[in-house]
């Protein structure tokens, strides 16, 4: 039932080995002529002005957390969508539709709550 991953492993080793060898070879035997123009940002590129890994302001945290919560609920919607037709064939279309409507209503109650609490205000 589980497929053999042997060929994939082999290909992986070959790919990494080949790519690594090429990179290593250019670094070792390639000519190195550095001048200021060559090291400039390319055409309309902008010089970096700050560390890209700087801390975000904590006010974004709340939005991020709420996003995760609502985002993850999608995993309950996908199996529902996958089995919708089977239910419809069994004559339970309205039932399964209302199930999801109920689920969404609970989610929306939570959404209404955070909206009213002002959790999504940026400023």
């Amino acid at each position: 039932m589980f497929h053999s991953f042997g060929p994939i492993l082999m290909q992986l080793v070959l790919a990494i080995g080949f790519a690594g060898a090429i990179v290593a070879l250019t670094a070792i035997i390639g000519p190195k002529k550095i001048n200021p123009v060559k090291m400039d940002s390319y055409e309309c590129g902008v010089d970096p002005f700050a560390d890209a890994r700087g801390a975000f302001h904590v006010k974004f945290f709340l939005v991020a957390v709420l996003f995760i919560l609502f985002d993850v609920e999608a995993i309950f919607v996908i199996p529902w969508a996958g089995s919708f037709l089977a239910f419809k064939k069994a004559g339970l279309g309205l039932f399964i539709y209302l199930e999801m409507a109920f689920f969404m209503a609970i989610l929306l109650a939570g959404y209404y709550y955070i909206l009213k609490k002002g959790a999504l205000k940026w400023e």
Binding site: M1, F2, H3, S4, F5, G6, P7, L9, V58, F61, V65, L66, I68, L69, D71, V72, E73, I75, F76, P79
Partner: protein, 108 residues
């Protein structure tokens, strides 16, 4: 498949062993690391080890019960991480640290 490649045959046992290894890494991390955030990440590793085991068993028995269980575990893990991170932020505001050794107001 050539006979010589037979050692590469991946069975469900491999997945379970991997899951146990991941779980142990997570447990060790929780016990060793002192940063609350890292401890929390280690717990997430443990939960994902569980997910791997559940999916493997589910696939092995050709059912989808375990896969459905994984959905619940994921949803719960998301809810937990929201609560946990919020608690960490509240703590950091008061104490300016997330080191569990320095969080020691409660003593008897």
């Amino acid at each position: 498949m050539p006979e010589s490649l037979h050692i590469f045959q991946i069975t469900e046992t491999h997945y379970i062993v991997l899951s146990v290894i991941l779980f142990c890494i997570g447990t060790a991390g929780v016990l060793i690391r002192r940063n609350a955030l890292v401890i929390f990440l280690c717990i997430e590793i443990m939960l994902n080890a569980v997910n791997l085991a559940l999916v493997t068993f589910s696939r092995h028995m050709d059912q989808n019960r375990g896969e459905v269980f994984v959905f619940f575990v994921m949803a719960v893990a998301a809810a937990e991480s929201a609560i946990g991170l919020s608690l960490l932020i509240v703590l950091h505001r008061q104490k300016k640290t997330v080191d569990v050794d320095e969080i020691n107001t409660l003593k008897g």
